[in-house]
């Protein structure tokens, strides 16, 4: 067990209670609506937010324990944090920002610059290495913030919406490059994100946090199958399928190939909302390309909406009105056909 946190903290009117365990090499996502207290949990682990009681330990080393009166300051925790508002050093060049952590560890300034070079190169920041952060674009600044933390090889990395300032085009590449660093087997990573695609792409498992508490925890697909809250259903209760794109089709395995809009290549995640799935008793007539046969697993009614999970070549979740659910006579084990319009499918490169 690499990171263990069991904490209670006050954030204004909100009381935060969080119990979190993560192994080395694991990447855990925290998702939740604004104001849920996600950032406060990260700050408490980093030692930047006071806890009212609880315990934080990293690799069996107790860095904070309210009962034992232990409280190590943030600089002694080996916890690296990437802030949502970046907090770059405005008076230092890009290279010096990235090299700062090394200099704190006794590396001379010149050598720190040399050591930072490969990372700067990887991130495409080389032309900007002498600039001050004030003159960078949002995406460039975010890369600097990531690099500045990752270069210190912390045992725990805390990322608060780390890719939110990147544009859709550069996001997958930066995400891929960066994940090489924090998927290191000696390192535990916690990512706060509001992007389910990002959670799916990066995290081994996800924690849903609402109003200061952890509501649900597990692999993202399991949560999608059975979301415990409206928020979880809306943001995570999607259909996700990793696959390989070849032009206008994506092979998602299990003999299923989805037609999509636009040209895509390589590894991708396809996703679509359960409401985009149409259920039929018999194979639908017409030209719908994305048509699959499946068996009904579960049927759940909630507020006039029926959520149906299926198993088949494309094990998708569907949300239909209760009226049509009754007309279709859906029961677990029943055979069903599902179809999805290509225009409703989102493709995210990995």
């Amino acid at each position: 067990m690499s990171l263990h946190a069991d904490i209670r903290a006050d954030a204004g009117a909100l009381v935060i209670e969080a119990r979190l365990e993560a192994r080395s090499g694991e990447v855990v996502g925290i998702v939740g609506p604004n104001g849920a207290g996600k950032t406060t949990v990260l700050k408490a682990i980093a030692g930047l937010w006071p806890i009212s009681r609880g315990k934080v330990s990293i690799n069996e080393w107790v860095v904070e324990d309210s009962e034992a009166g232990i409280r190590n300051p943030p600089e002694q925790r080996s916890v690296g944090m990437v802030f949502q508002d970046l907090r770059l050093f405005p008076h230092m060049s890009v290279a010096d920002n990235i090299g700062y952590g090394l200099r704190l560890r006794g590396v001379p300034r010149k050598q720190a610059r040399v050591l930072a070079e490969p990372l700067i190169e990887t991130l495409g920041l080389a032309p900007h290495s002498k600039q001050k952060p004030g003159s960078l674009s949002g995406g460039q600044a975010q890369k600097v913030a990531l690099a500045r933390t990752l270069i210190t090889n912390p045992q725990v990395i805390l990322l608060d919406e780390p890719f939110s300032a990147l544009d859709a085009e550069s996001r997958p590449k930066v995400r891929r490059d960066m994940s090489l660093y924090f998927r290191h087997p000696d390192c535990t990573t916690i990512i706060v994100t509001h992007d389910p695609m990002e959670a799916k792409a990066l995290c081994n498992r996800v924690i849903v946090m609402e109003e200061g508490r952890f509501i649900q925890e597990g692999e993202i697909d399991r949560i999608a199958d059975d979301p415990k809250s409206r928020y979880a259903a809306e943001s995570l209760g999607l259909n996700f399928f990793p696959g390989v794109a070849a032009g206008e089709t994506v092979d998602v395995g299990g003999e299923a190939t989805l037609s999509v809009v636009g040209e895509h290549h390589g590894r991708v995640i396809v996703s679509f909302h359960p409401r985009a799935v149409v259920l039929h008793q018999t194979r639908p007539e017409g030209t719908a390309r994305n048509v699959f046969k499946a068996i009904v697993r579960t049927v759940r009614h909630e507020n006039g909406i029926t959520r149906v999970t299926t198993a088949g070549s494309l094990s998708a979740v569907a949300e239909i009105t209760r009226v049509s659910a009754e007309q279709l006579n859906l029961r677990p084990g029943a055979e069903v056909w599902l179809s999805v319009k290509a225009a409703q499918i989102q493709v995210t490169p990995l």
């Binding site: 930047l48 600089e75 002694q76 508002d85 907090r87 700062y100 704190l104």
Partner: protein
């Protein structure tokens, strides 16, 4: 409307200066500049205002830090105390200093016993100037240290492993540079122009306690023409210093 008021403001600021500068008796400038008393008053003023700024920085910056960063009971009282000399009539400040550090003063009595007499010395000038000018430095630096941007950037440095002293040196001071410079310049300018507290606490003796402002006043009593020259010299020197520093410190920030 705003432009008109701004123009009026410039006029308001410029007219008294013009009044002084247009009346300079140029034929006597050379002799005044060569006057030993004028030279010693100018030297004394520059020296004491510099020392007063150093004293204010050594004592005032730590207080600004405490006011900005430490929570404690009676903080608003301490802050009011720190700003009080700014609103106190300088003569009152001088009298208060006399009653504290004078021969019969609260602390002065003890100091006199161990052979330290402060009134009527150059030290008294420095103390009077620092007392009156320090609030300008404290206010400017405290505001900068309270900046949430600076505090958040310090947090980022901490998460990278920077100790409190490294954070101060690497982050806080460089990020507060402009405010620090502005505070120091304001403090120095106020110290240079100090008159009331100095004359009351330190008195008036050539080369020991007669600073430029006092020299101007004395000259006004006897030879108004020479007061105009002295006043203009003081103005030109302070303007030059402000101008050069402004260029070096404030423009570098932009």
């Amino acid at each position: 409307m705003f432009g008109l008021l701004a123009a009026l403001c410039v006029v308001f600021l410029a007219v008294p200066l013009m009044g002084l500068l247009t009346q300079i008796p140029w034929d006597s400038v050379r002799s005044e500049l060569g006057n030993r008393d004028v030279a010693s008053a100018l030297k004394l003023s520059l020296l004491t205002s510099l020392f007063a700024t150093v004293l204010a920085a050594v004592l005032g910056i730590p207080l600004a830090w405490v006011l900005a960063r430490v929570q404690f009971r009676g903080k608003s009282f301490v802050r009011s105390l720190a700003i009080l000399p700014m609103v106190m009539p300088p003569v009152v400040a001088g009298l208060a200093l006399l009653l504290a550090f004078g021969r019969n003063g609260l602390i002065g009595k003890g100091l006199t016993k161990i052979g330290l007499t402060i009134p009527f010395t150059t030290t008294a000038v420095v103390i009077a100037e620092a007392f009156v000018a320090m609030p300008f430095l404290i206010l400017a630096v405290e505001a900068a240290l309270r900046s949430s941007q600076t505090i958040q950037t310090e947090e980022a440095a901490a998460s990278l492993g920077a100790s409190p002293s490294r954070r101060l040196l690497d982050i806080t001071l460089p990020m507060s540079k402009a405010a620090l410079a502005a505070g120091l310049v304001l403090c120095w300018a106020r110290a240079l122009g100090e008159f009331g507290a100095t004359i009351t606490f330190a008195g008036n003796l050539p080369a020991i306690t007669r600073t430029m402002p006092i020299a101007v006043y004395v000259a006004l009593e006897r030879r108004p023409q020479s007061a105009i020259v002295l006043g203009s010299i003081l103005l030109v020197v302070s303007f030059l210093v402000l101008f050069v520093l402004r260029d070096r410190w404030f423009r570098a920030q932009a």
